[in-house]
Amino acid sequence: MLLVLLSVVLISWFFVAAARRGKLVPGKMQFLGEMSYNFVRNSVGKDIIGERDYRPFVPLLFALFFFILVNNLFGSIPLIQLPTTSHVGTAYALAGIVYVTWIVLGIQKHGIGYFKLAVVPSGVPKAILPLVVLIEIISTFLVRPVTHSLRLFATMLAGHLIIMLAAAGSEFLLTQDQLLLKPLGILTLAGGVGMYLFEILIQVLQAYVFTLLTAIYIQGSLAEEH
């Protein structure tokens, strides 16, 4: 829980420091900040939500991306070694924020008819419409937030577990008396290091996927058609 606060402090400190003295020709820190900000703003926000109305959502996407990124990367920092997002509560909270956001947005944009718009696809034969509507209700309003949160939580937990498993396994094998088991311990250690590097990739990618899906959901509730 302290880690959440630590991440908030870290992100705020870095970006406020990077953005405060906004020069036309950026320095190193400002350049790094701008590059990160630009990435979320343009390749996530602008490309997916659309040129017209992506502006109000940039802060949300930006905060989400870096909050998740930093909390994920805690899993790869020695001595911390615990991604905050591998606690399911964190993932539920973040996905819940997004869930509320896109439903409220949809209602704001289309009124109460938004629910009809969201669950009744156009161009479906009458005969199978009830079935399709049922599937759409489940997939949009139930599966979507669950998968959104659990994807983050599960990948982080699994990555955390597999590294810890490799570490514990190596420790166990290397401390055995039998000489034959020690090379196996080295093998698991090497595999653990490989998984560690792979985990860094996964952590960044999951932050990206979470933000991208947020943008896709927001775009979906702003769009005119299903």
Binding site: V143, T147, H148, L150
Partner: protein, 67 residues
């Protein structure tokens, strides 16, 4: 031998999701390789496909823990 058979079941169910995600990204890479300028259009579709496909694997995880 101790353990929970649910986890074996989850492992089996994850195979489907893995194949599905592989197919989605194979198609995405194919599309982008053939027409690099379509990348911006294809990317959200690919990730939406990823989300929908992975939903099944995640549901498997949920059931593995819940049941």
């Amino acid at each position: 031998m101790e353990g929970n058979l649910n986890l074996v079941g989850y492992g089996l169910s994850a195979i489907g999701g893995a194949i599905g995600v592989g197919l989605v990204f194979a198609a995405y890479i194919n599309g982008v390789a053939r027409q690099p300028e379509a990348q911006r259009v294809l990317q959200p579709i690919a990730f939406l496909g990823l989300a929908l496909t992975e939903a099944l694997a995640i549901l498997g995880l949920v059931f593995a823990f819940v049941l």
